[in-house]
Structure formats: structure tokens, C-alpha cells
């Protein structure tokens, strides 16, 4: 038993080496297949990052009445924070709003002068709210116009919510994002199926060239396992080499992609979206263990199973 295993492994290695060209073509196809696996993983990460960026840009701003007491506003903020739909809230007092405005226009004396002309702070206190999902903004908006957002005496705290103005965009994004994610997943599954079929057929063709020899081995009195084993070992070797090649290729692509994205997007946008620019390399480094395991095991399993099934056809003798 043990000696058989040793012989099978050794024969697998020797065959892999002697069938140089065939092993080479198997490695090429398997590597392409694995690279497309990797590309799907990265496309998924990129898609999520983009969607998150867009989601992050969406928020609604609540403007409070000038007379609203800060304590009431802070109490409301606490209530809103506890709503399950809400991801985060930021309170901006009217003083802060003024300071932000002055900061932003500090090089434009005309605008700063006009503020001074008014002689009082024209900015209302405001609160920006981010929801966990874009579709949840309408219910948050409804909540803010309800009685919960009143002072004890019954005067409304909230002057206006800018949800109405952004409603169309927010709604559309809310509907679009799940569609885009679904389509991406469908495409990924399709690509994986195509890659697996191509790999399987390539390995089948390679083993087809050995069909006569497989029957000779059977006729000489070799058991099925003994005939099949070396092919599976060769398949596993192709898988290991392809996996390592794939990781190298992915690493190259990942670190080159940062420069490419920056180049396409232009310097200003790139600095604005720095998290997107370095997203691939960051993901690759932080999840290297996971990526390594997935790619290597996919290669090994694909190589082994393809070989196992391909030989089976010729073992009937």
C-alpha cells in the first residue's frame, strides 16, 4: 500500500516532467482560469468599495429653527442615533457652520464682507445623518417631521430636511446598487463556470493523448488506482504551479493597478479617492492568507478532479 503510494507519486512527478509541453499547456490554461478567479475577487472588492464610496456620499441634513435650544437638539440627536436605520449623525452648531463657511471662503473677501454686513449668524444649526442603507432615508425623514422632533411646548425643532431635494437621486441609488451587485455576482458565476469548463476540457484533451497507454496499463494488470494515481498527482502539480504563478501575476497586477487608477482618474480625483486607488494592494496585503488559500486550493482541486474524471473514461477496459 505504502509502496504503491510512493510509486504513484514518483510516476506522477516523472510524467509531469516528461510530458513537458502538455504540462506546460495545462499550467497555462489553469493559470488563466485562476487569474480570472482572482480578477473576480478583486472586481467584487472594487465594486463594493465604489458602492460604499457612493453610499458614503449620500446623507441628509436637518436644519433646525433659529430659536431651537441646543439642549433640545442634542436630545433629538441622541434619539436619532438610537434609530436602527441610522449609521451616524453629526451635529453642527450655527457657530461651527459660520466658522466652516469663513474657512472655506477665506480667500474671498467679498463673500466674507457680505457675511459681516448681515451682522448676525445666518447659519442655522444642522445635523447630518447617514443611514445604513440609502432606501432608509425616507423613513428617517418622516420621523424628523413627526411629533418626536418637537419641543416640550409643541413648536417644531426642525426647520427643514433636505431629503426632498435629494430624494430622486437617493431613491434611484437605493434601487440601483442592489441591481449592480446582483448583476456582478451573476457575471462572476458565469465566468467561473466558463473557466472551469475550459480547464476541464483542456486536461481531458491532454489525457486523451494517453488513452492507449491507459488501456495498455490495464491490460498489463495495473489496478485502476495505480493507473489513475500518477495522472492525479500530475494534475495536482499543475495546480500548485498554476496557483503560485497566479499569485505572482495577481501581485503584479495589484501593485500596478494603483498607478493605473491614479493615471486614469487624474491627480486631483486620485487624491480625493485615495482609498480607492490603493484598494487592491491594501486588500491583497491584508487578505493575503485568504487569497493564497483560495487560489491554491482552487488550482489543486481543479487539477486533481479534472484529471481524475478524465482518466475514468479510459479505464473501462
Amino acid at each position: 500500500m505504502f509502496i504503491n503510494l510512493k510509486r504513484i507519486i514518483k510516476t506522477g512527478f516523472v510524467n509531469f516532467w516528461r510530458n513537458g509541453f502538455l504540462s506546460f499547456s495545462a499550467i497555462i490554461v489553469l493559470t488563466l482560469c485562476l487569474v480570472s478567479f482572482g480578477a473576480i475577487m478583486f472586481a467584487d472588492v472594487f465594486g463594493h468599495a465604489m458602492v460604499d464610496q457612493v453610499k458614503d456620499k449620500i446623507d441628509i441634513t436637518v436644519y433646525f429653527n433659529q430659536g431651537a435650544a441646543e439642549s433640545d437638539i442634542l436630545a433629538l440627536q441622541q434619539t436619532v442615533d438610537k434609530l436602527p436605520e441610522v449609521a451616524s449623525t453629526t451635529y453642527i452648531s450655527s457657530d461651527e457652520a459660520l466658522a466652516n463657511f469663513q474657512n472655506k471662503w477665506q480667500n474671498n473677501s467679498l463673500i466674507l464682507q457680505s457675511i459681516d454686513e448681515i451682522n448676525e449668524n445666518p447659519f442655522p444649526a444642522a445635523m447630518t445623518i447617514k443611514a445604513k442603507e440609502p432606501s432608509e432615508y425616507s423613513s428617517i425623514s418622516d420621523f424628523l417631521s413627526s411629533s418626536a422632533a418637537m419641543t416640550a411646548s409643541g413648536t417644531p425643532l426642525v426647520d427643514s430636511v433636505n431629503y426632498g431635494e435629494n430624494q430622486v437621486i437617493i431613491d434611484r441609488l437605493g434601487r440601483l446598487i442592489p441591481d449592480v451587485e446582483g448583476a456582478g455576482l451573476g457575471l462572476a458565476i458565469l465566468l467561473v463556470i466558463v473557466a472551469v469548463i475550459v480547464t476541464f476540457n483542456t486536461i481531458r484533451l491532454i489525457i486523451y493523448t494517453s488513452r492507449d497507454e491507459i488501456s495498455v496499463m490495464r491490460l498489463v494488470g495495473a489496478s485502476n488506482t495505480y493507473v489513475r494515481g500518477p495522472f492525479v498527482v500530475s494534475g495536482i502539480m499543475c495546480g500548485i504551479i498554476s496557483g503560485l504563478l497566479t499569485l505572482l501575476i495577481l501581485a503584479g497586477l495589484v501593485f500596478w493597478s494603483g498607478a493605473l487608477i491614479a493615471h486614469i482618474a487624474g491627480a486631483t480625483v486620485a487624491s480625493d479617492l485615495s482609498s480607492v486607488v490603493s484598494i487592491f494592494s491594501a486588500y491583497f496585503i491584508s487578505n493575503f492568507g485568504e487569497i493564497f488559500t483560495i487560489i491554491m486550493s482552487a488550482g489543486i482541486i481543479l487539477g486533481a478532479i479534472s484529471s481524475y474524471l478524465a482518466v475514468r473514461r479510459y479505464l473501462k477496459v
Binding site: I3, N4, R7, N15, R18, N19, D212, E213, S215, V216, M217, R218, L219, V220, G221, A222, S223, N224, Y226, V317
Partner: protein
């Protein structure tokens, strides 16, 4: 030892390769099957090694029905038969040594047995100097000698040789026949097919003549008559 009982083989295209063939082979016999191409000689061999199944009838090896064997028994049974084919059927990416070693390893022999026996049989077929050549580096006669070495290395009960000299020149042909005779003298049953008159006359021994799938003559010490 081997018994063909009313074996008929009709191929899917409707041609009858064997038509109600019955005969037996005793241990240590040297049986030559002669007949024109298409007379059913190769089909007869394929039945014996279960490369193909009969349409009707039974082939026995000792008391076992060859075509009813389980996979595991089949593997063991095949190790008791050494096969030699017209087209050699060596494994391309293995050297002469490895081709022979493969048959031993497949039979579960130990490494030391392999190391001892393979050079020995290669010497027997006079190929000790070409041990590490791949099949494509050998001539037809040399390849067939490797195939014979592979067939005998597990000391089988029977050697089945299907037109082993079909692709060889006269000199190599007689070399092969000489080797088969030597194997037979050492106590192995030999089952040989040929359409070469010279081969039959050189062998002597029992001759079964086939024509259109039927056994038409069975002579204890025959000559080539067609």
C-alpha cells in the same frame, strides 16, 4: 486451462468476427492460430484478455468465466497473462526499463525484485545495452523484444502474442519466434496468432486454422495449410 465454449462475436456494424468457436488449450502447449486477415484471430485474443466481450458463449480460464470477473479479479487474472501485440503497445514516455518495471510494480512487486528481474529479462531478450532508451529510440524488432520482456517478467501462466511479427523483417521475426519457443520450453503456455507461413513452419506444434470466424482445422502438429 483455457476453454472457448461456443463463442460468437458480432460487432455493432453487423460483421461476424467469431462464429460458434469451441476449443481448449492445455498447459504448456504452444498453439498457433493461423488465418487470413479478418478471419477472427485478433478477436479471439481479445476475448481471452477481456479487452472485448463475446456476443454469446463463454471463455473459461481454469474454471472461471473471464467475462464475469470482478474488476479486482480481472486485474489479478491479467497479471497471469503476458501480452504481446503487433503494434508493441509500449508506454511512450517510459524507457525500456521502466516499461518492464511498470508491469512488475503494477503487480505489487518490491523495489528489490524489480531491480533484480528487469535487467535479467532485458538480457534474455538481448537488450541489456538499450535499457534506458525510450520506445521511439528503438527499432521495431527491439520494441517487440521489450514488449516480450514486459510480458514474461511477471512469470505468467500464458503468453498471448497477437501477430507479434506482423511489422517485422524476417530476421527479427525468427528472433522473436526463437524467444517465444524458449519461453515455452521453460513451461509457459504460448498462444500465438500469425498469417506468416514461415512462422508456422518454424514453430511446429499445434496449429488452429481459422476462416471467416470459424475453426476449420485443428492439427496437433500442423503445417500452414490455407
Amino acid at each position: 486451462m483455457i476453454y472457448y465454449d461456443k463463442v460468437t462475436k458480432i460487432y455493432p456494424d453487423g460483421s461476424t468476427a467469431l462464429d460458434n468457436v469451441s476449443f481448449g488449450v492445455e498447459p504448456k502447449e504452444f498453439v498457433t492460430i493461423v488465418g487470413h486477415s479478418g478471419a477472427g484471430k485478433t478477436t479471439l485474443m481479445k476475448m481471452l484478455i477481456a479487452e472485448d466481450h463475446p456476443t454469446s458463449g463463454v471463455v473459461f480460464f481454469e474454471s472461471a468465466n473471464i467475462h464475469k470477473m470482478k474488476k479486482r479479479d480481472m486485474t489479478r487474472y491479467r497479471r497471469r497473462i503476458g501480452m504481446v501485440f503487433q503494434d508493441y503497445r509500449l508506454i511512450r514516455n517510459k524507457t525500456a526499463y521502466e516499461n518492464i518495471a511498470f508491469a512488475m510494480e503494477a503487480a505489487g512487486r518490491t523495489a528489490s525484485e524489480v531491480a533484480a528481474d528487469v535487467p535479467h529479462v532485458l538480457e534474455l531478450v538481448d537488450l541489456a545495452d538499450k535499457m534506458w532508451n525510450f520506445p521511439h529510440q528503438l527499432s521495431g524488432g527491439e520494441r517487440q523484444r521489450v514488449a516480450i520482456a514486459r510480458a514474461i517478467v511477471n512469470q505468467p501462466d500464458i503468453i498471448v502474442a497477437d501477430e507479434p511479427t506482423g511489422n517485422l523483417d524476417p530476421e527479427n521475426t525468427f528472433e522473436i519466434i526463437r524467444i517465444l519457443q524458449k519461453i515455452n520450453e521453460l513451461g509457459t503456455t504460448v498462444f500465438l496468432t500469425t498469417h506468416n507461413k514461415g512462422v508456422v513452419d518454424a514453430v511446429g506444434g499445434r496449429v488452429i486454422t481459422m476462416e471467416k470466424g470459424k475453426v476449420v482445422r485443428d492439427d496437433k502438429s500442423g503445417k500452414y495449410i490455407l
